[in-house]
Amino acid sequence: MSLEVGSGLTIGLILLVVIVVAALLITVERRLLGFWQERLGPNRVGWFGSLQVVADMIKIFTKEDWVPPFADKVSFVVAPAIIMTVILLSFAVVPFAPNIGVVDSNIGVLFILAMASLGAYSVMLGGLSSDNKYALLGALRAAAQMVSYEVFMGISLLGVVALSGSFNLREIVAAQEEGMWFVIPQFIGFVIFLIAGVAESHRLPFDIPEAEQEICAGYHTEYSGMKFGMFFVGEYLGLVLVSSLITVLFFGGWLGPAFLPPIVWFALKSGVFIAFFILLRAAIPRPRYDQLMSYGWLFLLPLSLINLLVTGVIILL
């Protein structure tokens, strides 16, 4: 057993690290949000609040795991599992380092987009099966938002795919080793992917499916205990996934000066984007629902198409 792509040890480590990081983000986010709101955040449990995640986990595991009698039992139970599964599956194609990864897939980008689309089922099933009007509203919003933002999420990536000539995420990183990081030639694509990524993982400012102030907690209103915890951790997993995708696609993945090992560069770059997403949550208010939709269809979709067109023209010249 050694650290190579697809070995059992690597797969186990990736699963473990990704889930632990997602859980740790609960604490990290609360701390960072606190700092950016001129508070201190949770700092009582453990060293500077580092054990807060353990306390949160104990709380969430010991809570009553209640299925409402009016809910559709099967889909109610399945829904939170879908989002965890789907996002963990997406990590299969992410190249963490030259020797760390699960699969070296030729359709990596497509696989991730497909998995992201499946993630919409989790939210929709969760909302519909709850038989609760807030949950239903949240599910409707989530479905519309995720479907419409997937369109140009894919299109914004096509520039990168065209430049590197491959859907394989490892070859995309390799292409950036020869040339420059794709954030420079594909800056518009990067911005669009960033926005679409926030909408896709429905985090603030695009957390319209769960907007607490308008519709309670949206699709997971009726969830409690570990089923809620899976939605919760699934959201953070999505955050980690989007951050690592941005790193891989636009910021050269594991590439970096040789004094640090590749995996550390990857973690550093992803960490910056995770922090940036948390900053987005701290700083930017939530748009209205129709504003979000019209912004997506009327502004970002044409922009991504133009970006693709210009990229194609430049490549052909």
Partner: protein, 179 residues
């Protein structure tokens, strides 16, 4: 197009930068149990009953505080001493009901009932939230140091007849024609 970019992108970037710089600002919160916050003298916290400069209870059991209280947390019973002073036989405040609105302090004609900056009143047993007169009375005068109701009021008590209070004129003899 330019205004669209300015509105959608530039203002967001400015916001992000502004919020990011909050990281280095002084935090607004204090770590409370380790670090005591400054309590303003007029803070409306735990209620006390004060005494006048002579050391007597200021409360004259007029019931105005109990009437003013919007949550009916004050209960008292009037008593009368041999010298004619009124005093509360019992004075009971249910702090589990009290909302610290300060209406009782405003209603009090003798400055007896006062609110203090103390807010640490948590108890494990609910019954402990009910404070009797012995718990409420303090030895000092509170916020008003030289006010003594019976010295300025016209009420007659032993040792001070009608018209002998401060700034009080002698009572008019309505049966006399003399000026």
């Amino acid at each position: 197009m330019f205004t669209l970019i300015k509105d959608t992108l530039l203002s967001q970037v400015v916001t992000l930068w502004g919020v990011f710089m909050k990281l280095f600002d002084k935090k607004d919160t204090v770590e409370y149990p380790d670090e005591q916050p400054y309590m303003f003298p007029r803070w409306r916290g735990r209620i006390i009953l004060s005494r006048d400069p002579d050391g007597e209870e200021r409360c004259v059991a007029c019931n105005l505080c109990a009437v003013a209280c919007p949550v009916d947390c004050i209960a008292l019973q009037k008593g009368e001493m041999e010298d004619g002073r009124w005093y509360p036989e019992f004075f009971r405040i249910n702090f589990s009901r009290c909302i610290m609105c300060g209406f009782c302090e405003e209603a009090c004609p003798t400055n007896a009932i006062q609110l203090t900056p103390d807010f640490e009143m948590a108890e494990y047993v609910r019954q402990d939230m009910v404070w009797e007169k012995e718990d409420l009375l303090i030895d000092g005068t509170g916020k008003y140091h030289d006010y003594n109701f019976y010295r300025v009021a016209g009420m007659e008590i032993a040792g001070k007849g009608k018209g002998e209070a401060q700034n009080e004129a002698k009572p008019v003899d309505v049966r006399s024609l003399m000026p």
